[in-house]
Amino acid sequence: MQILKGTPVSPGIVIGEAFLLDLEEYRMPRRAVVPEHIEAEVARFQSAIDKVVAEITEDVKRLAAAMPEDDLHKIFEGHIAIAQDLVVSVIDSIRKYRFTPEHAVSKKIRTIVKQLTSRDDPGGFAARIVADFTDVEKRLLRALFGQREQSHNGVHQKSVIFARDLTPSQTISLDRSKILGFVTEGGGRTSHTAILARAQGIPAVVGIENVTRDVSGGDMVIVDGTKGIVIVEPDEETLRKYRTLEKNFIQFERRTAEEMRTQPSETRDGIAVSLLANIELAEEAENAKDYGAGGIGLFRTEFLYTDPRNPPGEKQQFDAYVSVLKAFPGRPVTIRALDIGADKDLIGGTAPERNPFLGCRGIRLLFDRMDLFRTQLRAILRASSFGKLRLMFPMVSTVEEIKQAKAIVADVREELDGEGKTFDPEMPIGIMIEVPSAAIAADILCTEADFLSIGTNDLVQYVMAVDRMNEKISSLYQPANPAVLRLLRSVIDAGARAERPVSMCGEMSGDPLFTALLLGFGLRSFSAVPSALPEVKKVLRSVTVPEAKQIAQDALALTDAHQVTEFLTEKTKRIIPELF
């Protein structure tokens, strides 16, 4: 038995067999071809090229049909050109040096890659081109070996997919009904794998070094996507324990979801509370409805920016926003403007920073990249006439930033007016509260913001001065710390005094442990990943507002995070014993 630890990116527990996807390092033996076989080898190479071109053409078609607004398929068209451009020189070296086609292809690509990586590459430009060549090389070698692309044809039974990292072409070719879970070496919360897994509710753990070396195909594995643990070849006792957990997890989730879906979202004493969903892809909107979401509290738009070379155009964004609005007619849909920083270069050309979390990110970066900002605002404003859209700015730290951002919105509105385009002139414009300065001065920011949404993930990180990815200090990342609780209460109070709606969209609002406490602080709008909503609703419906106020008051009297957690666990256990 081996226990491996990684980053949890999609919750849930699964047990199954490992399937290793594309871990082959194709190292070709340098075998000489006997002279009389040379032409046969040339022909074999030709048919591999034909096969690869046909395969990529199919991908291009499928992509163009699936995402007509996206130019992703054009990159694959370039891959066809690369494959065809290889023909002459590869055939040449088969004939001249009597190389096998496999060796000739490998050698040619190695030479190109070496040339590309031999120079300084500050913007990572050459590295991205290398990825294109490697993609073509892999396809060619697979065709030469007579292997099909290991896609759904390769995965025969439901398995846990292990890969170093999944390329976009692999991700789209997987048959989702055959996937139990995902485990990768690379990637973070924003990798393709993570996005796909969360959107589909498939448990996933990423960032486990050398995992494709430690696991063999067919190994029995347990994936705990909630804790970020992967257990290879578990012993009997562990297996038994996890089988129970897996069963309980599934049964409980299903039961709660079914039980809660149609129940009104209100407290036991009849106070209405809105339960909204956090989503990352437009396609998740339907899924959110299944979990009983009354709207979208946070639509993260970062995932539209999947290719740094090719940011999404106005039309593509507009389509995505409108499709979410149409899924929730008459319900609030909050779209957050692009929220990235130097830690994830999704737009290309971002210079590395010494301290990206205190750097040019969120609204700061948007002011710096007016081209991207204006395109997004145009798409959002135009979409606003299709529903109840609310626009939200990330990483705001001062009131001037809101004024400046609103001035830009006004300017874009004028531009659209001039073009005769329609938009909702009353669209609310709000801000994320995730920087301590914004939280402390929330009353001042309310003079400019139409609504507030507390992003607890970053807020806790900044208030505690703790990078939660740093394992050494992760115990200091304390949402239940009295300092955090006081600050949350004061933000909710400030919003209430200014008559500005306050919502919360961090992980805390999806954690049933905090539901009664936050309700007691006066929070009336919770936004969380869709799968967390039924549990939150269950707690909501079990308490009255006076009870919640009492819980809040008692929790604030405690002096450390452990006491608070213990106290809240004790209270929540009475409502949902299955969770503990």
């Binding site: 054009k74 451009d85 294109d132 290309g348």
Partner: protein, 88 residues
């Protein structure tokens, strides 16, 4: 013999898509066209060779052609590059 100097202006540089366009365009002329960057000279008809230039945003390139339609070829390629490949 015709020659012109251009600067790559599209933000994401001469990546797969623009390189495909450039190679296609160069293939339409009778005159062989080459692209030079820092002394490295490659055929404009080969997407692979174009990509090995790793010409990021702001890179200066020299377009050279020799043959019957050399001037037209250089002009057309200059227009494509200056027009940011119609991408932005």
């Amino acid at each position: 013999m015709a020659e012109k100097t251009v600067t790559i202006q599209n933000r994401h540089g001469l990546h797969v898509r623009p390189a495909t366009q450039l190679a296609e365009l160069a293939g339409k002329f009778k005159s062989p066209v080459t692209i030079v960057k820092d002394g490295q000279e490659v055929s404009a008809r080969s997407i692979i060779e174009l990509l090995t230039l790793a010409a990021a945003h702001g890179t200066e390139l020299r377009i050279k052609a020799e043959g019957p339609d050399a001037a037209e070829a250089v002009d057309a390629i200059q227009k494509l590059i200056d027009g940011r490949f119609g991408l932005e």
